[in-house]
């Protein structure tokens, strides 16, 4: 077993275990803090997939932004300890179908070989940020500008929703 595999399994274990804590913990503060390790483990898995920009984005946005937001949400709630978050079984058959589709797709993906996708050689310095920037500024200029419109809509929507909450 190589060092790469060891690192992968360690981070995969961290991700899965902390994810289990998020799901099963009764104290939502523990769940929220455990989510930190889940996000971090996912970022490490991105690094192992040679997606360095995605990994840094994961840290910057999920750990630095969304998790903080989530913790504020937790701090705003009344009940923190022993919150029963399980709900009764509803819509069993549609849920079963969707789970079957997702599981089948994932299993199919993991057994299929990717055609036309260049597999990066393991090791060696590769940075995707420059390529991404080149693509965003040339081939994908319109999606890039549309992203700013989407962000604008999200900003105004978030501000409006929060404002209504405050006034009531």
């Amino acid at each position: 077993m190589q060092l790469f595999d060891v690192v992968f399994y360690v981070f995969a274990l961290i991700t899965i275990l902390s994810g289990c804590v998020v799901v099963f913990s009764k104290n939502i503060i523990y769940a929220a803090f455990s989510l930190l390790f889940t996000f971090f483990g996912v970022a490490a898995l991105y690094v192992l997939l040679h997606a360095d920009f995605l990994a840094v984005t994961q840290i910057l946005i999920y750990v630095g932004g969304i998790l903080v937001l989530l913790l504020f949400g937790v701090m705003l709630t009344n009940n923190v300890i022993s919150v029963e978050m399980k709900t009764g079984t509803i819509q069993a058959i549609p849920a079963l179908i969707i789970v079957a589709i997702v599981a089948g797709t994932l299993a199919g993906l993991s057994y299929s070989t990717w055609k036309g996708v260049a597999v990066p050689a393991p090791g060696g310095p590769q940075t995707t940020t420059g390529t991404l920037g080149q693509m965003l500024m040339t081939s994908y200029v319109i999606p890039f500008e549309i992203a700013s419109v989407v962000l604008l809509v999200a900003l105004i929507g978030a501000a409006m929703t929060a404002r209504r909450h405050r006034n009531s």
């Binding site: 090791g123 500024m137 890039f144 962000l151 501000a159």
Partner: protein, 145 residues
């Protein structure tokens, strides 16, 4: 040959070992003689009062929500900054349009007062003739004075 993220991993391991090592060594060395006032929550030397949990002001949440949008914006700046030198004016104008869009949103939340911190009005005891001391909320004009 160690990659860039290999160095990050080394930093990570050193960080974890440093913190965990310090805690474990302290746990091994320190005497363990607890008594109630030692185990009590430290509150600047005072006797602890009330619950630990305080509900945060909802304003924190709103500001964090707005921050998140600009966080995403900053992420887009990085790939642009890397290739900026090669592309020149075109990239500059592209980013100006992108930032301009979000500046509109920024102006919107600023104008609508979503960035303002609404402070609760201070309560001051006030004497009124015949009534005695009672707590009243100060009006806006009184605060301004």
């Amino acid at each position: 040959m160690i990659t860039d993220f290999g160095r990050v991993l080394i930093f990570l391991i050193v960080g974890v070992v440093f913190v965990a090592g310090g805690l474990i060594v302290a746990w091994l060395l320190r005497p363990n003689r607890p008594y109630p006032s030692k185990l009590a929550t430290y509150e600047c030397g005072e006797v602890p009062v009330g619950d630990t949990r305080v509900r945060f002001n909802v304003r924190f949440y709103v500001v964090a929500l707005i921050f998140l949008i600009f966080d995403v914006e900053v992420v887009f700046l990085f790939p642009w900054a890397v290739v900026y030198k090669n592309l020149g004016w075109f990239a500059f104008i592209e980013m100006l349009v992108f930032l301009g869009m979000l500046a509109v949103g920024y102006a919107y939340v600023w104008r609508k007062g979503d960035l303002d911190w609404d402070k609760p009005a201070p309560k001051v005891p006030r004497y009124e003739k015949g009534i005695g001391v009672q707590e009243t909320r100060m009006t806006e004009e009184e605060i301004a004075v």
